[in-house]
């Protein structure tokens, strides 16, 4: 491993004093994660992303700071914090790298959350504490090779075989799958009802090959889940939910975290470009003195500020259990697109240096292409807003 020579000089930007709306706990949680990212992530991330390798040693550190399920209760391995704390933690992680944030999002929102919400007491006791400490790594299997935006069309199935089910099918694009100890898998039963189940690694017929060749989220490992006549004991099925509500509620939780996270990536790009614009001189002046550079920077911080305010409000609604899935869709879509736009503009400010891994911008930009697509694509979220405001469904009929 070759540590990066570049010091992480990141400083937070808060143009509208949104920090005054946060509590002391939120600010401390944010600072803790920021310190951790500067110490553990920034020095190594360019190297891992360059080699398309997952820094698996970070799972332990993420668990130690409490990044897995921070808003779940302490007795089940969570942090007992509120939704805004969860948001600021995701923001700081993604300020470091979207892949590192994904490691935490999947574990907390897509694995611990469904087990906590829909699992039996026995399943909760068995899995949650070990997921909270990172002793177990989990993954979430919803997307299939032929069903991405339309997960309800899934063809992965379970068949009743007495005291167990027989699971057949395949999942695709699954974050963490090649190294996960367990997978929360969504499959249809014989009545065509979607059920969730916990499938442990080592189960005969279950494999999780890695997907190679990603130009995005390179420091996060992605794979398939393949099930060939896998025996799943009935006690492994999540008893508390039936239908698409199960996976969709998990996605709402994770998308909420992404709405916060994307601002982190945007802030890192803005911060880098702002500093560079004051240090880099052309035509005898800092490039930040040129109007065209200022236009870019001014628009970036304007868009970041709007996203910060939108997301803070979303956090307040989430704390009151009033954030609707459609509101979360709007925030996810807006913020990720905003971050990608900021990354592209910031990249230009750095000129040629912007395309190298001396600076984090190109990595963020490539990562954000995944973030724009996963957990519901940019266009699908637009259609969710469209359906919400018109009451007309563009997906069917």
């Amino acid at each position: 491993m070759k540590p990066s020579q570049r010091e992480d000089r990141y400083q937070h930007h808060d143009y509208f004093q949104v920090d005054e709306l946060l509590s002391e706990d939120h600010l401390m949680a944010r600072q803790v994660v920021r310190d951790w990212v500067k110490k553990e992530v920034s020095p190594i991330i360019e190297d891992y992303a360059n080699r398309a390798a997952c820094p698996t040693h970070l799972f332990k550190g993420l668990a130690e700071i409490g990044a897995f399920g921070p808003s779940l209760p302490v007795e089940y391995g969570g942090g007992g914090m509120d939704e805004i704390a969860y948001g600021v933690i995701m923001q700081e992680l993604e300020r470091g790298d979207s892949g590192v944030r994904s490691m935490a999002s999947v574990q907390g929102s897509l694995v611990m959350y469904p087990i906590y919400s829909y699992g039996s007491e026995e399943q909760k006791r068995k899995y949650l504490p070990k997921l909270g400490t990172g002793e177990f790594i989990g993954c979430f299997g919803l997307t299939e090779p032929d069903h991405g935006s339309d997960p309800a069309g899934m063809t992965t199935r379970i068949k009743d075989a007495g005291d167990h089910y027989i699971l057949n099918g395949a999942k695709m694009w699954i974050t963490n799958s090649p190294l996960a100890d367990l997978a929360v898998v969504w499959a249809k039963d014989e009545e065509n009802t979607v059920r969730g189940m916990i499938v442990e690694k080592g189960n005969p017929g279950f494999s999780a090959p890695e997907i190679h060749g990603k130009w995005s989220l390179r420091a996060s490992i992605t794979g398939e889940l393949v099930f060939e006549d896998v025996k799943v004991p009935k006690s492994q099925v999540l008893p508390g939910v039936k239908g698409m509500k199960g996976p969709l509620s998990c996605l709402s939780k994770a998308r909420y975290g992404i709405a916060w996270g994307a601002i982190g990536a945007a802030l890192d790009c803005y911060d880098t470009a702002l500093r560079y614009s004051k240090e880099r001189k052309q035509f005898g002046r800092p490039i930040g003195q040129f109007q065209l550079t200022q236009k870019k920077l001014a628009e970036m911080i304007t868009e970041i500020t709007k996203a910060q305010l939108l997301t803070w409000r979303l956090g307040v609604l989430a704390n009151q259990k009033k954030a609707s899935p459609a509101q979360i869709s709007m925030a996810k879509r807006n913020n990720v697109h905003m971050a990608l736009t900021v990354a592209r503009e910031a990249r230009q400010i750095l000129g040629g240096m912007g395309i190298t891994n001396e600076y984090p911008i190109m990595r963020h930009m490539m990562n954000l292409e995944t973030v724009l697509t996963y957990e519901g694509t940019h266009d699908i979220h637009l259609l969710i807003t469209g359906m919400d405001v018109t009451g007309l469904n563009a997906f069917s009929g």
Partner: protein, 246 residues
């Protein structure tokens, strides 16, 4: 073992330094304050290690205004059991030591730890003054500390080697690099800190005998100067006469 850790607050190292009031006073506007790293990383964590090994309690104390409470909470989040804030704004280590001594003189701490210095003024003097007022022995710059009964075995890095000392407790010890490893607090710690006691007490009267009379900033950094490769004499002259490294 009852342990007291003195914690101080300093500007973050990335802060821009400026002064006000005719260069007599540090200007805190827009500055991000942090726990002094020597206190946080070494003194506090060492205290926690001792408590984890042999039981007891860890109290942190800070002489400073209410605006510093988030930093005190951080010390509680890292693991201290309780905190005392003395509601004063000391202008010197002398004033801070006087306040802390008055606050703890009846509390029978077995060990009092401080960082070796604050990263802003680098006085490295609070521990010594505190020990003097409490009539306790003082060992500065400990890089290792082990307890043996009522004594502490302390190592100090000295020029070219290591000095080992034995000191009878209670004592005051200041911690340097090596004494412990920085601990980043976690979410559970942050939540637990909310319900830990943080008591506030008034300061005692005392005249500030040492007052800042002025500050000056170092001259601004010079840009890079290019010397043509064929101009070796010029380079040697600059290194010799201006940089004075030859």
């Amino acid at each position: 073992m009852k342990i007291l850790v003195c914690i101080s607050v300093t500007p973050d190292t990335t802060s821009r330094v400026s002064f006000k009031n005719d260069n007599r006073e540090y200007n805190p506007d827009g500055v991000q304050f942090i726990l002094n790293p020597y206190d946080e990383w070494y003194a506090l964590v060492k205290a926690l290690e001792i408590r984890e090994k042999s039981g007891g309690s860890v109290t942190v104390i800070h002489a400073g205004p209410v605006q510093h409470e988030p930093m005190i909470r951080k010390a509680l989040a890292i693991g201290a059991d309780e905190a005392i804030r003395i509601d004063v704004r000391p202008d010197s280590s002398h004033a801070a030591a006087l306040q802390i001594a008055a606050a703890v003189k009846d509390q029978a701490f077995d060990l009092i730890l401080t960082g070796k210095e604050t990263i802003d003024y680098q006085g490295a003097e609070l521990g010594a003054m505190l020990a003097e007022w409490l009539a306790l022995p003082f060992v500065p710059f400990a890089s290792k500390l082990d307890l043996e009964g009522s004594r502490a075995i302390i190592e100090r890095d000295i020029e070219g080697g290591v000095q080992v000392l034995e000191v009878q407790l209670p004592a005051v010890v200041s911690g340097a690099k090596g004494l412990a490893e920085q601990r980043i607090p976690n979410m559970k710690g942050i939540m637990a800190a909310k319900s830990k006691p943080l008591s506030v007490r008034d300061g005692v009267p005392g005249e500030d005998l040492i007052l800042p009379a002025g500050f000056t900033l170092p001259p601004p950094k010079q840009g890079v100067r290019m010397v043509a490769p064929e101009d070796m004499d010029q380079l040697v002259r600059i290194l010799h006469e201006e940089a004075r490294v030859l």
